[in-house]
Symmetry: C2
Subunit: 314 residues, 2 copies
């Protein structure tokens, strides 16, 4: 396995992914408690909340309150998610770390459902965001392609379509003299398998050999860890993940996307394969157990039940 | 991914793995119902029961009754598990398909705890079994190495130890002029990661380049699907698996080994990667849902909640 990265970067999205999916009320203090616990595990980056329409996502109505209540720990980045400029402006009024964000979708049908805009409206929105970032000296460091491996509305997605959409996004960025340091390919609705990971990553790499890539994986059909392995084997060193596999609980009968790939399961696999993560896995397990207590139902993480192998090695 | 097999063989172990772990009573008729449903999915082989000491494994006290109640379907093999000659003799009095079975363990400590015998006693037991099989013209077709990737009692296991134990087992077989058609490497207690899969499979292959290998994986720490991918990439075409991920429910607070790799999740990944399984995945999902109904608590399989991608492709 010669192409494995020496170290991976994990972007913890559990608090945002998880709590936006929960149907029961979660106390803001509990959200803050989990965010602070996660920030104490060695994770470099924790996504805390999303600044979206509270009527569409009631679980995020307290986004500002949560963001403002966090006692920040040095060396940790606290991020948020938004879908448009208004959301970004809300985030900027909090203490969160603001990253200029640009996105596209491999599926126009998904784009229409998720944000109400088609590809040409998206291009205008991208220009508006980039202009705003340039004006306010905000570095545009986060770029994502949603439904990069398939879409429930549009069906299969070809690697060529992903390349085409990324090229369009990069053209818009070039108008502003901007280049993305890393591009995340998102398996938004759980279609990816190691074969499509290889195909899409391969196609994007072929077109932009020096572009750093990250993966945002969901475990909807049980393939997330295998997809991550395929990514690691292709040298991918950045993953979005969620503690305890938060984000849509398949055991509560939720439909739709299941949680992100589980942070501590992925970190365990990486460390066992000699890939550094910089995180304290036992501390992550504590966070996963806390998350389960907070949501009040079983979460799909495995390591949180079995524990690491450290105690057997002594 | 040039080394992927064209087709994989799945040995369904859900009924045996699953029902031996359940603490609540499962009706024999429910066990039979699940076995018959599984046999209708295209699976070529279903492991039905284990013939073990009912005082140690109360859930298998009805092994004979279950085995005798199955309405057999043509073309399907119905297997059982046993740990000694007495168990095999019990199996022979039923309608199950009898496979001569030989096993060893990479960990003597595990062997002592699991079967009360050390390595030299194991060798004698192996001889006794092989002599019996030869006498009764039973082909010895099933061979397995337990704890091949690590052991909770002994700690890490080196690939060299696995090779040594397999060599000892093959020496005993050679005394009887026997050769194993396939050797299963079992991650009995959930230690394996893709790195150790590569190391152990690689070491065994180096010593016996023409020996067919299978994997028996548990998802104790969330790595089962990634481990299977590593196996597939090394050309491994035979997996033990359990419908719905049966076999130890992490959500009921059981300790010890979690379930086998989930049959329908693995079959889905294989089919999506162009590897034939011969099974009807939707029928497998029905079986997984039936299994969950029978055990009365959530099981860890993912695909059984999300469904396949077929409906999105129409």
């Amino acid at each position: 396995m010669p192409d494995l990265p020496r170290r991976v970067h994990l972007h913890e999205e559990g608090p945002r992914e998880g709590f936006q999916m929960e149907t029961r009320h979660i106390a803001s203090t509990d959200k803050v408690r989990l965010i602070e616990a996660l920030a104490g595990t060695g994770l470099a980056e924790v996504q805390c909340v999303s600044f979206v329409n509270p009527e569409r996502v009631p679980g995020m109505a307290d986004a500002e309150l949560v963001a403002q209540s966090i006692r920040r720990r040095e060396g940790v980045r606290y991020t948020g998610l938004w879908l448009n400029l208004r959301g970004m402006q809300r985030a900027m009024r909090t203490q969160l770390d603001i990253e200029g964000t640009i996105g596209t979708s491999a599926s126009e049908a998904f784009l229409l459902r998720n944000s109400g805009q088609g590809l040409s409206a998206l291009r205008e929105a991208q220009r508006q965001t980039l202009a705003y970032c340039v004006d306010h000296r905000i570095a545009v460091t986060r770029g994502i392609v949603t439904t990069a491996f398939g879409c429930n509305f549009e069906g299969p997605v070809s690697p060529a379509t992903v390349v085409e959409r990324v090229a369009q996004m990069f053209e818009v960025m070039a108008e502003f003299g901007l280049r993305l340091p890393i591009l995340r390919l998102a398996d938004t609705v759980g279609w990816a398998t190691p074969r499509s990971i290889a195909a899409v990553v391969g196609a994007v790499r072929e077109r932009w050999p020096d572009l750093r890539l990250g993966l945002h994986l969901h475990d909807t059909r049980g393939t997330a860890m295998a997809n991550a392995l395929m990514g690691l084997q292709m040298g991918i060193d950045t993953f979005d993940s969620a503690c305890a596999g938060l984000g849509g609980c398949p055991f509560a009968g939720h439909t739709g996307a299941a949680g992100n790939i589980c942070t501590e399961d992925l970190a365990f696999m990486c460390e066992e394969m000699g890939i550094e993560t910089g995180v304290d896995i036992d501390a992550l397990i504590d966070c996963a157990q806390l998350a389960e207590k907070i949501v009040g139902h079983p979460l799909p993480g495995k390591l949180m039940r079995a524990g690491t192998l450290a105690r057997f090695r002594q």
